[in-house]
């Protein structure tokens, strides 16, 4: 049954030819995506071979608590084939945003894919799952997102968490997290899970992850928390074109100063590049046009866990919980230092009052010896 379907399904290359792409366009795409994936030059041929011979991988793409910025980012990735290949051709059997079907038809399509391609399809999840109030904060077709996720994940060969919502909860999970928004890896156990964080992630990164799975039939190499190493092993800071200013200690002090105009490092106005792992500095956005730092705004770490709670956006410092607003480590530390100094002064005075007898004895004893030596 499964092999039958596989032979019926067209390969990516066939689909692209139908769509009117030339072989040249196809190879250009393969080369580009292989480079993004960090493959060696022979990798482009491997990608081309895979897309030419392998049938489409069925994909179910679920949307839960999210804003669809991941999908938006994806369909705007630089090469048109990215959107075409993945969205039209990748056999998106179910995705709320882009599927033509609605209502029962759509549900049927999803059920069919889950049944026909059990253990074969890739489950993409955009958004977090609300665990609070039995999941009523996100219901689709009468089912809670929690139930849908469990059902869909059961037969998936891998789960891809698109964006920060699915990877770490993003804004819905920010304090106080009223819906108990939960990232996917905390719900689904025992399945290979790839996190592609970012708000949104870069379109080319998303395409790179998918093409890697198509090409090699394996997951890309992941780091300790499940992000593809090819895109998330370096900090934004490490590939920043303003890095020389950082090393030279030349910083923007305020956004309207001369240093900002000269394009100095945004470290002191809260750039989170030094603690953010992403490929923005290399792949950039909008066909490689720019990225936040290049347009004069610090990175605010959208691909890092709980970045909403790690504010303020325009300061290096972390506000202290329980110390009131606008209290950071250095301010609290300085107060503690003042209190310590006052305590020491009080202790020194008390020592001279309470222990004067002991001290006087020591002094007298020492002076007596001094006196006796003088007599000689």
């Amino acid at each position: 049954m499964l092999t039958e379907i596989s032979t019926q399904r067209k390969t990516y290359y066939e689909e692209l030819q139908d769509k009117g792409y030339s072989r040249r366009d196809f190879l250009k795409f393969c080369t580009m995506i292989a480079a993004y994936m960090g493959l060696q030059s022979s990798g482009a041929a491997q990608v081309a071979e895979a897309l030419k011979t392998k049938p489409r991988v069925p994909v179910i793409w679920l949307h839960f608590q999210e804003c669809t910025c991941c999908s938006e980012s994806f369909i705007r990735s630089s090469h048109p084939i990215v959107a075409d290949i993945i969205l039209d051709k990748l056999s998106l059997d179910y995705t709320e945003t882009l599927m033509a079907a609605a209502g029962h038809q759509a549900e049927e399509a999803m059920q069919k894919t889950m049944k026909d391609h059990y253990g074969e399809y890739v489950l993409c999840v955009e958004g977090s799952v609300p665990a609070g109030a039995d999941g009523v904060y996100c219901m689709i077709g009468g089912k809670s997102s929690m139930d849908i996720l469990h059902e869909a994940a059961a037969g998936a060969k891998a789960v891809i968490c698109w964006g920060s919502c699915a990877s770490n909860g993003c804004v819905q999970a920010a304090k106080p997290n009223p819906t108990k928004a939960t990232p996917i890896h905390k719900i689904i156990k025992g399945k290979p899970i790839i996190k592609v964080p970012g708000c949104p992630p870069i379109g080319e990164v998303m395409a790179g992850v998918l093409v890697h799975i198509l090409t090699f039939d394996t997951l890309p190499a992941l780091d300790g928390i499940g992000r593809p190493k090819a895109f998330y092993s370096k900090r934004v800071h490490d590939s920043c074109y303003r890095r020389p200013y950082y090393d030279a200690g030349m910083f923007v002090e305020t956004f309207d100063d001369e240093n900002a105009k000269r394009g100095y490092c945004l470290y002191k106005v809260g750039c989170k590049g030094p603690s953010t792992y992403n490929a923005c500095g290399i792949i950039k956005w909008n066909n490689g046009t720019s990225y936040p730092i290049q347009s004069g705004h610090g990175c605010f770490g959208c691909s890092e866990e709980s970045f909403w709670d790690n504010g303020p956006i325009y300061e290096r410092m972390v506000n202290a919980g329980g110390f009131g607003i606008e209290q950071n480590a250095d301010k609290v530390g300085m107060v503690a230092l003042g209190v310590t100094a006052a305590g020491i002064a009080a202790h020194a005075v008390a020592t001279n009052l309470r222990k004067h007898k002991v001290v006087d004895e020591l002094i007298a004893e020492g002076k007596q010896s001094e006196h006796e030596l003088k007599k000689d």
């Binding site: 770490n168 780091d223 300790g224 928390i225 370096k234 900090r235 490490d238 020389p244 200013y245 950082y246 090393d247 030279a248 200690g249 030349m250 910083f251 002090e253 001369e258 240093n259 470290y267 002191k268 989170k272 030094p274 603690s275 953010t276 792992y277 770490g301 890092e304 866990e305 709980s306 970045f307 790690n310 290096r316 410092m317 972390v318 480590a329 250095d330 609290v332 530390g333 503690a336 230092l337 310590t340 100094a341 020491i344 202790h347 020194a348 008390a350 020592t351 309470r354 222990k355 002991v358 001290v359 004895e361 020591l362 007298a364 004893e365 020492g366 002076k367 007596q368 010896s369 006196h371």
Partner: protein, 242 residues
């Protein structure tokens, strides 16, 4: 001045070798590292505003500051590891037993030190030769703080290094949910070191002043001087670690 009546006869003092040479090396190396790490760390956390008309290529002071911080951190780590080792092979004043409470007496002694040196209750003058129990316990806390700084510091550093040693710490950011939290803990913990240093230096002067045993110089020569009668009393209490 000569009319001062002396209540006790001049004491005979006994020289006791307390801090072995490796302990003293450790102490001063550690002190130096901590001061350098605090200074460079605070600069890295909040660099001063320097207005300059130079181009970036002609300056590297911030990179140099970070370099010094990392070098000091390596020395600090190895020095710390050495001290842990010495806690098992050194003399009884260097032993790990001074720092980690293993029995109820430890806490009773700590309470006595509090009464003697902090609340200054009349009649309490606890004199110890090595670390007193309260100090020992606070050093145990500092060792924990050393550990926290090493874990968070090298955890942050691991992403910049290909060497296996810092990469042993690469799990730390994963555990804490990213570099941001690691950086925050690293920064907050710095203030523990600042406060510790201030209190530590004060208390050394305090003990020297009140006890007259040569507390300040002991970390130079390694010895303290105790009254003959205290020496005899200590010798009798054989089980005491003090």
């Amino acid at each position: 001045m000569n009319s001062t009546t002396v209540s006790s006869k001049p004491q005979l003092l006994r020289r006791v070798f307390v801090w072995e040479l490796p302990v003293r090396y450790y102490h001063w190396l550690n002190a130096g590292c901590i001061l350098v790490l605090i200074a460079t760390g605070l600069i890295i956390g909040d660099p001063p505003a320097i207005m300059t008309s130079k181009e970036a290529h002609s300056s590297y002071w911030f990179g140099t500051t970070r370099f010094i911080h990392f070098v000091a951190a390596y020395i600090f780590l190895f020095n710390f590891l050495f001290r842990i080792y010495w806690g098992f092979v050194g003399n009884k004043y260097a032993s790990w037993k001074n720092f980690i409470p293993t029995n109820r007496q430890y806490f009773k002694d700590m309470w006595n030190i509090l009464k003697s040196d902090i609340f200054m209750t009349k009649g309490y003058n606890v004199h110890t030769i090595g670390h007193n129990r309260l100090a020992g316990f606070i050093y145990f806390m500092t060792f924990i703080a050393f550990g926290i700084q090493c874990l968070t510091g090298f955890g942050l550093y691991s992403a910049m290094s290909d060497w296996w040693l810092p990469n042993l710490f690469s799990w730390v950011p994963y555990l804490l949910g990213g570099d941001f939290m690691v950086r925050t803990i690293h920064h907050w913990a710095t203030w523990f070191f600042i406060l510790f240093t201030v209190v530590h230096v004060y208390l050394v002067f305090y003990h020297d002043y009140v006890e007259g045993h040569g507390e300040i110089s002991s970390m130079g020569g390694g010895w303290k001087f105790i009254e003959e009668e205290i020496f005899k009393r200590k010798k009798k209490i054989k089980n005491s670690n003090l």
